[in-house]
């Protein structure tokens, strides 16, 4: 009896795990198989034509690329600065614990709330309008917690003795940070930056009211322009278009490009991280 329960229980655990993996693989296989049908040079490099029923998604690819890069350009300096402060400078006191609490809570803020925040602060109060800049700034703040967490983890992985050595040689705290702590932490910080890019590329709700456009046949020329984005384009094609069935193949294609982009970034981050871990372990 005891054996039977144990067997049943353990098979349940395996089954649950297998089910989750099957969902992931099934989802990927479905999108890949359906999306592949429209994939081609034209789909990737041409703008949508004939009311988005034909043509490609190039403006959406370009828009997502631009807004993601802009996002990381904002959040990386701020996030790495915060991570350096937390790991190298901040004394352990109530104020520092407050910062950590704020970071944990920021990572739980619903994405649509970020959108509301962006509308009030960037679009209206700062007068930036619905633009690439407003969307990039909103996403920049959204990705901040991820950048800080990844960077701080990377900085803390640098052994204490390295810092002590630099300080003993007469370096100031900032010199020590800059010359001996930051360089070995760079791959970890890079991981955070890549994950930030991937998150920014996949978010829809925060850019919904801050800068994304339904249809624009060109690539934004300045930070004040609106832009098309892959996730929003997928949303439009699958729910808002006047003939949803006709554009279904294009929607699959868009989903495939988006998933492909996000997964490539994540795999890249994963590769950088595992390389870094191996190097740190061999250094010990």
């Amino acid at each position: 009896m005891k054996r039977l329960w144990s067997l049943l229980g353990r098979s349940y655990l395996v089954l649950a795990t297998a089910a989750v993996v099957a969902v992931l693989l099934g989802l990927l296989a479905h999108i890949a198989a359906q999306g592949w049908e429209v994939m081609g040079w034209e789909f990737l490099t041409a703008p949508p034509r004939k009311g988005m029923t034909q043509g490609g998604i190039f403006p959406a690819i370009a828009g997502t690329t631009l807004v993601s890069l802009l996002t990381v350009a904002f959040s990386l300096p701020l996030g790495v600065g915060a991570a350096i402060y937390l790991s190298e400078y901040a004394p352990d006191r109530a104020a520092t614990r407050g910062i950590r609490l704020a970071i944990r809570n920021l990572s739980g803020v619903p994405s649509v709330v970020w959108g509301l925040f962006g509308v009030v602060l960037f679009v209206d109060l700062l007068g930036l309008g619905t633009s690439l800049l407003s969307a990039g700034l909103t996403l920049g703040l959204l990705t901040l917690p991820w950048i800080i967490t990844a960077s701080e983890e990377a900085l803390r992985a640098v052994p204490r003795s390295v810092r002590d050595g630099a300080l003993a040689l007469g370096a100031t705290p900032w010199q020590a940070t800059r010359t001996v702590v930051l360089p070995p932490a760079l791959p970890g910080i890079l991981t955070g930056a890549i994950l930030g890019l991937s998150r920014a590329a996949g978010e829809t709700a925060p850019i919904l009211f801050t800068g994304v456009a339904f249809y624009l046949p060109f690539v934004p020329g300045s930070l004040g322009d609106q832009f098309m984005a892959l996730p929003y384009h997928l949303y439009i094609l699958s729910t808002q278009h006047h003939s949803i069935q006709t554009v279904r193949p294009l929607a699959y294609g868009t989903a495939l490009v988006l998933v492909g982009l996000v997964f490539t970034l994540n795999l890249g981050a994963f590769a950088v991280r595992s390389r870094m871990r191996r190097r740190l372990e061999s250094a010990r």
Binding site: W5, Y12, A16, Y85, N105, V112, G115, L116, V120, T204
Partner: protein
């Protein structure tokens, strides 16, 4: 008896070696980056409160908090009741948790207690990958795969309803639940398990009667954080739930959550109207709910870790 610290020449030379203005400036700038997070969180709170509060110049607070009818564009009488969408959010979230808790716990237990290191090394990135799938893609799957399946199974005209949203949200919330539950299980000291095994329990009994109870607060926090994610999800529920702004009537009815309502309506209302401000009030309520869930999870985790040491 206090001896005044003697200053040696070396001290003096170290202190006077060079003015430390640059150092101070750098530290201040870094501290500024650090406190930016607090500022942003406070900013979200303040801006949503400020914008949302303006709705109550026209909308009675009583109506907002107690009424079920949300119909701001009605030509007869605009309704600004919060309850239908709170109930929708709760229904979809609890529906997803009914899947997330048993499955998430199962996967976490397998990964932490039974999987070989090799299997772990493959499975953990796979779960992380699931977390990386953009929510709009999950919503798309809800439309093209899960929806038609629900429609066929239950004989409905379409499958865009609360059940669809719950299933998709489960997929979205699972990675959080799994990775945090696994952390909680792994933080149970090895000695507990060894003691249980030495007393003759098999690994399954050890998991059920020793490891899971010992990790219970951490598991609870993990599930709460996963629930926080489900509450705040926007695109998935927007695309899969059918968006009927009425009080939900079971899992097979079309519902519109708080997040979906904001996403649908904010783009269409003129800035500065009562409707616009009411959407910010909804946003504030959503922010408060998810903040409360995260905060409670934090407390549970904190107490747990505090008690261990």
């Amino acid at each position: 008896m206090d001896v005044p610290p003697t200053r040696t020449a070396a001290d003096a030379s170290l202190a006077n070696r060079r003015p430390r203005w640059g150092e101070r400036l750098v530290e201040l700038a870094l501290a500024g980056c650090g406190y930016a997070s607090v500022l942003v969180l406070g900013g979200i709170f303040a801006l949503l409160l400020w914008q949302g509060a303006q709705a109550f110049r026209e909308v009675p607070l009583r109506e907002f908090l107690l009424s079920v009818r949300w119909d701001p564009t009605s030509p007869v009488e605009a309704g600004y009741g919060l309850w239908a969408m709170v109930a929708s959010t709760a229904l979809v979230t609890l529906g997803s948790m009914a899947v997330v808790v048993p499955v998430g716990l199962g996967v976490a237990a397998y990964l932490s207690e039974f999987a070989s290191p090799r299997a772990r090394e493959l499975l953990k990135p796979a779960i992380e990958m699931l977390a990386a799938v953009p929510s709009v893609v999950v919503g798309f799957i809800g439309i093209v795969v899960v929806g038609p399946w629900i429609a066929r199974t239950f004989g409905l005209p379409n499958g865009l309803n609360a059940l669809n949203g719950s299933l998709l949200l489960a997929v979205m919330a699972l990675p959080t639940a799994v990775s945090l539950s696994e952390d909680a299980l792994r933080s149970v000291p090895r000695e507990y398990r060894l003691a249980s095994l030495a007393l003759g329990a098999n690994p399954w009994e050890t998991l059920l009667k020793v490891t899971i109870p010992a990790a219970a607060p951490g598991l609870l926090a993990a599930m709460m954080l996963a629930m926080g994610r489900a509450i705040g999800e926007t695109m998935t529920v927007l695309m899969a739930c059918g968006n009927a702004p009425a009080f939900p009537d079971g899992l097979l009815s079309a519902v519109r959550t708080m997040t979906a309502t904001i996403a649908i309506e904010l783009g269409e209302v003129p800035h500065g109207t009562a409707h616009y401000h009411a959407l910010f009030a909804v946003g504030f309520a959503l922010f408060a709910i998810s903040f409360g869930v995260n905060w409670a999870a934090d407390r549970v985790l904190r107490r747990f870790q505090g008690g261990r040491r």
